[in-house]
Amino acid sequence: MSMAFHAQAETHIEVYRFYPGAVPGTAFLAVVLQVSLPLYIPQATLLALPMLITLYFGLSRRNPSNGLLLGTGIGLFQDGVSRLPFGLYGIANTVVGFLASSIGARLDVEHAFSRLALAFGFYHFHQVIYATTKWLILAQPEDFFSKRLLIASLVNAVIAVPLFKLLDRFRRA
């Protein structure tokens, strides 16, 4: 079975393009920071940089296929460096990338408030996917919602606004 998943064949609107290497470089850096920062700043464990990167590029490029593939790559890489079973974050980020890309064309994702709300909502969505996967496949309990998760989602939502603004600089005109 051979399927073509070229961007031109999809019924989507790719609005923004990025400089070569911006996407993979940003994704790589996000994962590295995610596993490194907690060593120096314990509170950094609240961050979900890989998810935010997946969300941003999904909303920006608005290509469901590319969005889910990017999420898959980021998630698997995150699993690998976190010494978690491959696929745990991979599944969660895949869905985030696909969904973000799908709604990117329907919402105003440039406004700061929308970015704040999207980051907040996708953080919880990401946690639900992660907890469900862990519960069903690994048969291990995981919180679907907690006070800590709420705080983390607010932190990530606040961080997402300047982060996304920074990433806008890598857009090609």
Partner: protein
Amino acid sequence: MLAVPGRHRSLTLLAIIMVAQILLLAIQIKREQDVRLIRVWAVAVVTPFQRAGNYVVGGVRNAWGGYVDLRHIRKENQELRAENDRLKLRLSEADGRAAEATRLAALLEFRDAKPELKSLPARVIGSSAVASSRVILLNRGEKDGVRRDMAVITPDGVVGKIIEAFPDTSQVLVLTDKESGVGALLETSRTQGVVNGLGEAILALNYVAPFQAVQVGERILTSGLDRVFPKDLPVGTVLSVEQGNPFQKIRVTPAARLDRLEEVLILLAVPGALPARSSKGTSPAGQPATKNP
């Protein structure tokens, strides 16, 4: 190449990627008993088909086995029926031998009880072909010492007497024959008479005066006066009594089972009996034999 509508391509890719990652997790994860999750899923997927296949194969096998077994059972049934028939026949033969052994034992006991009566056991091997004649054929003859006019009895009672003695066989005139007769007396009153055959199953006690008391059920024994049968052997039982002129009409039930004779005793020597005659009509002493009543 599969043509997938554009709007479904991303969904298809999503599904593929998700399934791939789930399988990736299943390969890595171990559940209880250290079994990888992928193996648990693989077994779970295959098990219903295995069960279905096993069910179908088992059904076919059972049906074929049932058919084959049915044929074997039918054949076995036929064989068992045949064997059952053979065993029934053997059982019947065994029962017959057992009954014969009982009868022979009775004969032997009778012989031992009456040592003064020299007797010879014989088996009934034939009967007369004529309905009006009550004659039986025994497997003893002159070679065994059998002679005419010898008495033939069973432990139950009188049977008859030898009328013809051949080298290996002999004929007996049974008591029920019209030509037969035996000297008899009533056990209680000791009234004497003659028991004759009527050509039927019952006998007649003749020559009993009308004034003589005769009771139904009274036993009749041999009187010994005919000098053929020894005295006090059972002859029969009074069945009915009718007054008649000049003699009473007394019917008698034979003591011996004259219709079911199989083994009998031939009295070779009876104290005080008439000399027995050979087939030539003479007694062993050469004198002509007297006529029996």
